[in-house]
């Protein structure tokens, strides 16, 4: 199971990134320079950009089509698209006039998984601490040494 593999070696904070990127690169076959996760996080931190990504999940779209549902100018949407493109979250056709944008799943999955691994690290560590404390209490109650 993918999730099992992913969390099998969860570690906190920066340690997580090293492990996770290693894993992502193996899994998704990033051939060239992988996008750094900080660029992905910065891109995802903006609600308009997340809305654009959600829209693109239902299919490619031009700047015009993307701008329509938002109360934002076309140049502003173009700027958001540039940020998303630089983070590797979308790709755009170069040749076609309307340059439709398309979602690229892997970098987003990497960022989401990083966050999940972070949570998982602490949830699991705390569970281990829970059972350790139970054992320590038992020994203490039994009058033994810790």
């Amino acid at each position: 199971m993918a999730i099992g593999m992913r969390t099998a070696a969860a570690s906190p904070l920066t340690y997580l990134v090293k492990k996770y990127n290693h894993f992502v690169m193996e899994q998704s076959g990033y051939g060239n320079q992988p996008e750094t996760l900080d660029a992905v996080f910065a891109a995802l931190a903006d609600p308009t950009r997340r809305a654009i990504l959600t829209r693109l999940a239902s299919g490619e779209a031009s700047v015009n089509e993307l701008a329509a549902p938002f109360d934002v100018s076309q140049p502003a949407i173009s700027k958001h698209l540039k940020v998303l493109e630089r983070a590797g979250l979308i790709e755009r056709d170069i040749d076609k006039q309307r340059r439709p944008a398309r979602l690229k799943a892997e970098p987003m999955a990497a960022a989401v998984h990083w966050l999940e691994d972070f949570k998982e690290f602490w949830t699991s560590s705390f569970e281990q601490l829970d059972s350790l404390l139970i054992n320590l209490k038992k020994r203490k109650d039994a009058g033994g040494q810790t």
Partner: protein
Amino acid sequence: MSELPIYVLERVFDAPRELVWQAWTDADLLARWYGPRVETIVHSLEVKPGGLWLNEMKWGGNSNYQRTEFTEVIPPERLVMLQSNSDADWNIASNPQMPDWPRVLLTTVTFQDDGKRTKMRLTWAPHEASDKEIACFAAAIDGLDKGWAAGMELLAQLLAEQKA
């Protein structure tokens, strides 16, 4: 930057405070809970201001090294420490895949009596960080705190299904 982004985790443990404190400050006990499904090796643990906690986590053929310096130790109430990723020689190192992640995080752990239980609170904040590092940390914890990660997770799943 005026206000630093801070990430907070809280948890109640069904054990007296002294015991929870011991689990954090005894090297053998610490290695038994810190880091799930990895082999945790505590190379050094000096719980005093200026003391170091040198931690290695191993899985498969990999090792991650973490260098922590305690700055405040008030048993059994409070631990304050500076945590960094490090190389195998315990020199502070940044991560090539996430170059803007703060190199040093100020971690504060407080232990509060709650009857027979203990309320533990962990906070992380960038320490002496650049604007870029602060922004990177803020963006990542935004995903944890505001829960947008869940929505993006659904999106990622949807895409995976479409691909399959």
